[in-house]
């Protein structure tokens, strides 16, 4: 089937927001949380400050010892240490929680906006970029930010505050001690700048290798029947072995790079520590600081090894989260499928007829696929659209349903050209794309009518002939279906799609189902279900099976984007045109087999009469 469902090679991608735009978005979201942000900052600083105090106290203690002060001098110091420990502990925990809370709210807001926008993107955009990129953004990117926001960012901010306050504390002892400690900063930065550009491509390579390996394993295991049938075991294992070895090599090389990074970090630690000790030595010698103060500075710096390590080693995770954020903001910024700003209210449709006049259409940059097609479906009538693959049937159906907007021509409901959102409120389309939404069966159907009662859902299922099997599922209507749940057959999934249509209860229905995959038995079941689901509605049906055309009020034959024939089934059979060719192929009346299948016709004639409404 060509048209809407065919992903093409060399697709465009969804946009990614620039750095400035991403920051602006983040600032606005943080601004919306400003009380939370303020509290988090205050408490976080308090916690970091309290963590610095004991080192100060230690410096004083060293000096008291050197002064041979009496043991009572310890009381005040002990009190400070105990109070700082308790206050620092509480503030650190509370601060981390408060930061986490801000992150959580921003994250929830981010993912909700992204998903809402993803679901309302114009279909033409979806076609251009394919679903893959969008799926990756709403799942992988959201998960990556989520992980960073809940586990990395809060402790990272705490660590950052601790580093800043410790350096401030050192400078508070003596500005030259602070300066000595700051010697390490350019070295740390240099280490990071050495590491990041080298590690980023390696990490990307590692992810690719891990992905390739997992894909090979998954394909081989899920396709093990085919592997066995074609005796591909050795070939597949050889590929897996190679991919797995690749994972091993890249993992080792990534890690080797990391150990060299750690070496540079160790070097920065040493120079920072040595600088403080030398500065302390000189300052003590000229009497501007005490031995205790220089000891305190050294201890403060030693205690920073872990938080700084954490800042550096999680830097790439934060960077990755930032990149994910830019991708999500890119989605949020996309324009929704908005109504065009046209002049005034077009008015209320007079009835439920639908008329397409002179419709032209081309997919982005492609050749025109519809060349001025006009179709008129009277209120309550049933028109079938037939034609060979690629004739433009599915495109025309999508235009009638307001999913695609025609490049030229109009769609009128009850004589009125409605804006897209109002058109879509009156027309529902069931397409070839089958999707069973994961979760309880009843919730799948409630997407069509939120808050539908159990009874309403049951009667919708009954209309399409699905109630019997639905009740027989392990947990009835509450059975978990879709991905990871009870597997439904193609026919059952299509029946669900039709039941959703019944629940939506639109005056106009467009059907473009793929009944072929269901096999002939299933296709008959579906034909009956479709007839029941559209009873009383104005219906445009893309007839993939020609029996559906035989039961329609009128048949429109489309070829290469133009209408070539139009009329009732009987008229067209009598006319001896394109429809007859299609009908012959359908009936399997080829020259070699026509003589063998005489009884079939009798069977067919019965169907149109019995299912006419």
């Amino acid at each position: 089937m060509t048209g809407p469902d065919q992903p093409s090679a060399g697709q465009d991608r969804l946009p990614v927001a620039g750095g400035r735009r991403t920051w602006a978005w983040l600032r606005r979201r943080l601004g919306a949380q400003w009380t939370g942000v303020t509290w988090a900052a205050l408490v976080g600083v308090l916690g970091a400050a309290a963590s610095v105090v004991p080192a100060y106290a230690l410096g004083t203690l060293v000096d008291r010892v050197r002064e041979h002060a009496p043991a009572s001098a310890l009381v005040a110091i002990a009190a400070v240490i105990v109070v700082a420990a308790v206050a620092g502990g509480v503030a650190t925990g509370a601060g981390t929680y408060l930061i986490g809370r801000v992150c959580g709210h921003v994250l929830a807001d981010l993912r909700e906006r992204t998903v809402a926008r993803a679901l309302s993107l114009p279909v033409t955009t979806l076609e251009r970029v394919g679903k893959g990129d969008l799926l990756a953004r709403v799942s992988t990117d959201v998960a990556s930010i989520g992980k960073a926001a809940t586990s990395v960012v809060p402790s990272l901010i705490s660590a950052f505050l601790l580093v800043v306050l410790s350096l401030a504390a050192m400078a508070g002892l003596d500005w030259r001690l602070g300066l000595a400690g700051a010697v390490a900063i350019p070295l740390y930065v240099a280490a990071l700048r050495w590491y990041l550009p080298r590690s980023a491509p390696k990490y990307a390579g590692e992810r690719r290798a891990v992905g390739d390996n997992a894909r090979l394993l998954a394909e081989s295991m899920q396709g093990v029947r085919t592997v066995h049938a074609y005796r591909l075991e050795q070939r597949r294992l050889h590929d897996i072995h190679q991919a797995s070895h690749q994972v091993r090599d890249i993992a080792v090389s990534v890690f080797t790079l990391f150990t060299r990074f750690v070496g540079r970090v160790n070097r920065a630690e040493f120079f920072g520590l040595a600088a403080i000790l030398v500065a302390g030595f000189l300052l003590v010698r000229d009497g501007s600081v005490t031995v205790g103060q220089s000891a305190a500075a050294a201890v403060l710096f030693h205690r920073l090894f872990n938080p700084i390590g954490m800042l550096l080693f999680t830097f790439d995770e934060v960077q990755a989260a930032g990149a994910s954020l830019a991708r999500l903001v890119g989605v949020i910024d996309l324009a929704p499928a908005a109504a065009p700003a046209d002049g005034g209210d077009p008015g209320e449709p007079a009835d439920t007829s639908i008329r397409l006049s002179g419709v032209h259409f081309r997919y982005d940059g492609g050749p025109e696929v519809l060349h001025g097609v006009s179709i008129d479906v009277a209120a309550g009538a049933r028109v079938a659209l037939v034609g060979s693959t690629g004739a433009g049937k599915s495109t025309l159906a999508a235009i009638a349903a307001g999913i695609l907007r025609p490049g030229g021509g109009t769609v009128r409901v009850g004589g009125v050209a409605l804006p897209p959102d109002r058109l879509r409120a009156r027309v529902a389309i069931v397409t070839q794309e089958i999707h069973v939404f994961a979760g309880p069966l009843i919730e799948d159907l409630r997407l069509a009518r939120p808050g539908a009662s159990r009874e309403e859902v049951r009667s919708a299922l009954a209309v399409v002939g699905a109630l019997e099997w639905a009740k027989a599922l392990p947990d009835g209507l509450d059975t978990v279906v879709g991905e990871g749940g009870h597997e439904l057959t193609t026919v059952q999934a299509q029946q669900l799609a039709l039941a959703r249509l019944v629940l939506v209860n639109p005056p106009i229905a467009v059907l473009d189902e793929a009944t072929a995959e269901a096999g002939s038995l299933g296709a008959r079941t579906l034909e009956e279900a479709a007839a029941a689901a559209t009873r009383g509605r104005t219906t445009l049906i893309v007839a993939h099976r020609l029996t559906q055309a035989a039961t329609a009020d009128r048949v429109v034959v489309l070829e290469h984007g133009r209408i070539v024939e139009e009329g009732t089934h009987q008229d067209l059979l009598a006319a001896g045109g394109r429809y007859v060719e299609l009908w012959r192929a359908w009936e399997a009346h080829t020259p070699t087999s026509s003589s063998r299948q005489a009884p079939q016709r009798a069977n067919l004639v019965r169907t149109p009469e019995s299912s006419k409404s």
Binding site: R64, T92, A118, V138, Q222, H228, F270, H302, T431, R596
Partner: protein, 560 residues
């Protein structure tokens, strides 16, 4: 193999790298614990007395210490990484080979589960080689610190050695609560993620019925639940962090106060005071690591058990040593009972083109499953004979070479179209044309070199079916078995395929045998003989033309 054996084997086969890694990691930890000691010494010996010579000497010592520290880490960690990566690689290869073994694997696990074993569990098991040296390093660091503390002052040493584990163990009480909250949070985050993926996956059907707002509202609800869980987890973690920060600070502070008391009384020097404080702070690390290790080890062990269970699982099929010599074997089923089949007798002569029509789809499926030769002999009754030999006695590879069963649910593999269709034999233009796969080739600019994405995504159902059919025809097996091979192609193409199949495999009385389970009149019309299955047995037999005239039930089944 039990988990324990997998673990001991991992240690044994990496013992050289592991012991080098343990040695160097322990050395690294010793160096780390010497840093605070050296800070104390420098303050005591150089800064206090203002001795420049001592400063130079001790700074040189500090430089040497950092050099040793960083080199020990670099080379130790690399040895361990090599061991871990090698072990994971070996385990992955072993598990994959086991799962794909021609004789199959007897297990209750589903494909997704096995995939987890082959990826996550093999990784987790290999991490054992990380945990062992970490434990060794932590024990060493603890021991060095303890000795240093005890040398400075026995009472101080004992206080630190008793207090540190006590504080850390007390904090461990909270571990289960945190684990529960975090698990809950992760589950809900995962639920939100899969809901988003599911809704976006079905975005077109949703838009078709204008349900995108209802879908977004549903997502918001789960997102809010996930947020609440995240906040609950953050609160719990906040409390824990408060307790652990305060506990750690109180412990270190207590030691500092006690050491200060001793220093004020002149029992220890200023340098010793600084060393004690530094060590008390440093000790939190290795001891903290040791308290975490049991749960990590348990995780590795659980993974190793799953890996072991897969590697130990018996084969599904018997060894089967017999091979087939004839190139035109006969296929025969005698009183076969399997699944819904209830005593099927069927004989397919060499060169025959047989259609099978199953009133119940399950019968057709069971028949094809049995013929695929992937069912353990004790799971069915009756006999399946291939070339006169019982199927279980045949070498599985030989049986599959003779009788190819193309699975109905098409599995394509990532690679070019050509790589996919030539899985069973060299490229064959006739087979491509007969299966109408040449149209699929032409539909892609890259032609045969067009890359098929994972599991054939990007191809329509009909295109996938035609490629699978081309693959089956290209293999030119003596016996070919298929079920519903043309359900996703249009009527016109189905006709072409039926004719192509007939012309390629049955141009006249020939070498090839074909069995197709189908209800397609196009295909059935070109078979030599049609067998109808009903109620698990053969209900009727004849040519398509005969059955079409005489059998009403048959007509209902196969006609449109």
């Amino acid at each position: 193999m039990t988990g324990r054996r997998i673990m001991t084997r991992a240690v044994a086969r990496n013992r050289r790298r592991l012991s080098a890694g343990i040695g160097l990691t322990s050395l690294h930890q010793v160096c780390e614990s010497l840093v605070p000691i050296l800070i104390g010494v420098i303050v005591d010996q150089a800064i206090g007395p203002g001795d420049a010579g001592a400063l130079v000497v001790w700074l040189a010592a500090l430089a040497a210490l950092f050099t040793a520290l960083t080199l020990a880490y670099r080379f130790g960690a690399r040895q361990l990484m090599l061991a871990i990566a090698d072990e994971a690689h070996l385990l992955r290869a072993e598990v994959a080979a086991k799962i794909m073994h021609p004789r199959g694997i007897r297990t209750d696990r589903r494909a997704g589960d096995l995939l987890t074993v082959a990826t996550t569990d093999t990784d987790n098991t290999s991490y054992l080689l990380d945990y062992v040296p970490r434990i060794a390093g932590a024990v060493t660091a603890t021991a060095v610190s303890a000795v240093a503390l005890l040398v400075i002052d026995v009472r101080l040493g004992l206080a630190v050695l008793a207090g540190t584990p006590l504080v850390l163990l007390a904090l461990q009480v909270a571990a289960p609560v945190i684990t529960r909250r975090v698990t809950e949070q992760q589950n809900l985050a995962g639920e939100a993620t899969s809901l988003a993926a599911d809704l976006v996956g079905g975005v077109r059907p949703l838009r078709g019925i204008g349900a995108e707002h209802a879908a977004a509202a549903r997502y918001d609800e789960v997102s809010r639940r996930s947020l609440r869980a995240a906040l609950r987890a953050a609160r719990t973690q906040g409390w824990y962090l408060s307790a652990s920060t305060a506990g750690g600070a109180l412990l270190a502070g207590g030691v500092a106060i006690l050491a200060g008391w001793f220093a004020l009384n002149g029992r220890i020097t200023v340098g010793e005071l600084i060393t004690v404080i530094g060590l008390a702070q440093f000790l939190m690390e290795p001891v903290g690591l040791l308290t975490l290790m049991p749960s990590r080890l348990a995780e590795a062990r659980a993974s190793a058990c799953r890996v072991g269970a897969v590697l130990d699982a018996p084969a599904l099929l018997p060894e089967g040593a017999e091979t087939l010599d004839g190139t035109r074997p006969e296929l025969e089923l005698r009183a076969l009972r399997y699944g819904t089949l209830d005593g099927v007798d069927l004989r397919v002569r060499p060169g025959e083109f047989v259609g099978v029509v199953a009133h119940r789809p399950a019968d057709g499926e069971a028949l094809v499953t049995i013929l695929s030769g992937r069912v353990a002999p004790e799971e069915y009754e009756g006999e399946v004979l291939l070339g006169g030999a019982l199927l279980p006695r045949l070498d599985p590879a030989d049986a599959r070479r003779t009788m190819l069963v193309e699975p109905h649910l098409t599995d394509l593999f990532t690679g070019t179209i050509e790589e996919n269709v030539t899985a069973g034999g060299p490229l064959d233009a006739q087979a491509l044309a007969a299966s109408a796969a040449d149209q699929v080739v032409r539909a892609h600019p890259g032609g045969l070199a067009h890359v098929v994405a994972e599991r054939g995504a990007g191809l329509s159902g009909g295109q996938r079916q035609r490629l699978a059919l081309a693959r089956a025809l290209t293999a030119r097996p003596p016996i070919l078995v298929m079920r519903d091979p043309t359900t996703a192609v249009d009527a016109m193409t189905e006709h072409e395929i039926a004719r192509g199949l007939r012309a390629l495999r049955h141009p006249g009385p020939g070498a090839f045998t074909t069995v197709i389970v189908t209800s397609s009149p196009s295909l059935l019309a070109l078979t030599d003989r049609v067998v109808v299955l009903d109620g698990g047995r053969v209900a009727a037999e004849g040519t398509h033309a005969e059955l079409a005239v005489t059998d009403d039930d048959y007509n209902r089944m196969v006609l449109r």
